[in-house]
């Protein structure tokens, strides 16, 4: 054994609000971080705020500059600028030229999530889409107890099963949720029950459903139908 592994090395490109707070958060969790910011004054301010962070002033999408950040040993490169095209190119360069295993990009235009995936970004994250999904879930259904969102736009959502729901008394094997939602766990009287095909759902059960974030409302609606 070579002792405890080194903390993952993460390069964040873009020192705006997202990049700054992300760096701060990851430093607290003992990641090794380099933050890349174009604007020297902004970089200085961040350095003043975060102290220990390694911050480099430069163009995150410039090959020669990226090579100076130690990018070839990075586990993750994250593009957090406000411009989709810049985040895409940073991730592509990291992936193609420096073989970085994982690239994550902030995406402003939700339409670009699919485009980023097609162009090789491992995890495009659209704040707009996540926010839309969360708000829609809250709007669409009072059944929602909590939502755990994953970067891929999928989520785990806790949904209360109303007493009048048409699903009450049905076996898991008979239930098909809309949009491919999957019941991964049932919480009954505060205790988890692993759903088997013959498990019968009861009124008052809380269903933990795996679903696309934007489909929560549809799942909630189906559960509340009598």
């Amino acid at each position: 054994m070579s002792g405890p592994t080194d903390p993952p090395y993460v390069i964040i490109v873009g020192g705006g609000k997202v990049g700054f707070h992300l760096a701060k958060h990851l430093i607290e969790r003992d990641y090794e971080i380099t933050l890349v910011e174009k604007d020297a004054a902004r970089a200085e301010w961040i350095e003043h705020q975060l102290g220990t962070v390694s911050i480099m002033v430069g163009d995150g999408d410039e090959m020669a500059f990226l090579a100076t950040t130690g990018i070839e040993r990075a586990s993750v490169v994250i593009g957090t600028t406000g411009d989709d095209e810049d985040n895409l190119i940073v991730c592509q360069l990291a992936k193609i030229k420096f073989n970085v295993p994982r690239t994550i990009a902030r995406v402003s235009n939700p339409h670009n999530v699919a485009v980023f995936k097609a162009l090789g970004v491992d995890a495009p994250v659209s704040a707009t889409e996540l926010l839309m999904g969360l708000i829609e879930a809250e709007l669409g259904s009072e059944l929602v107890r909590g939502v755990a969102v994953k970067a891929s736009g999928t989520c785990l959502v806790d949904l209360a099963l109303p007493a009048l729901s048409g699903y009450v008394g049905k076996r898991i094997g008979e239930i098909t949720l809309p949009k491919g939602g999957i019941i991964v766990c049932i919480v009954r009287a505060g205790k988890p029950v692993v759903p088997a095909p013959e498990t019968v759902v009861e009124a008052g059960d809380e269903l933990v459903v795996f679903s696309q974030l934007l489909d929560i409302a549809a799942v909630g609606e189906a559960l509340s139908k009598s």
């Binding site: 999408d61 410039e62 090959m63 989709d84 095209e85 193609i96 339409h111 485009v115």
Partner: protein, 151 residues
């Protein structure tokens, strides 16, 4: 030929006017309505206001069924993203991209994009003019237009 040009700056507008005059079907995309002023009154092509890295905007410009896609906005990354959408998602046969950064140009050319770099073209051309003058001695007063394209 059906051609989509994104970026209606000097280069984009000039190209659009030429191709249009030659009888090609041209659509130009730019975020600024005022950019289309450069196209002049005779331009008969399609003008689409919008963001060229948005699939919906490109669809509106008729990218499905286009023979050629040219990205000449002022931003390298914007050009690269638009070009890759055209090539990889809409499968446009010819995609031509302008990149000012020579290093980025070589990277993405390796990836199979057809790119050109005004930075290296311009520098090479100036150098050739200059050497031409030097070779002809002190009395060579300037550029006489005989220099062909630098390559």
């Amino acid at each position: 030929m059906k051609v989509i040009i994104v970026g209606c700056g000097r280069v984009g507008a000039r190209l659009a006017r030429q191709l249009d005059a030659e009888g090609h079907t041209v659509a130009v995309v730019d975020q600024q309505v005022s950019a289309f002023d450069r196209l002049g009154r005779e331009f008969r092509g399609n003008m689409v206001v919008g963001n060229c890295i948005d699939e919906a905007v490109l669809r509106r410009a008729g990218i499905e069924g286009a023979d050629c896609f040219v990205s000449v906005t002022s931003g390298d990354n914007r050009n690269l993203m638009a070009a890759q959408i055209a090539q990889r998602i809409f499968k446009v046969k010819r995609v031509i991209t302008r990149l000012y950064d020579p290093i980025r140009e070589s990277v993405f050319r390796e990836m199979g994009l057809e790119t050109f770099c005004p930075t290296t073209l311009g520098a090479d051309l100036i150098r050739e003019y200059f050497l031409d003058g030097v070779n002809r001695g002190r009395n060579a007063s300037g550029v006489d237009g005989t220099v062909v394209r630098a390559s």
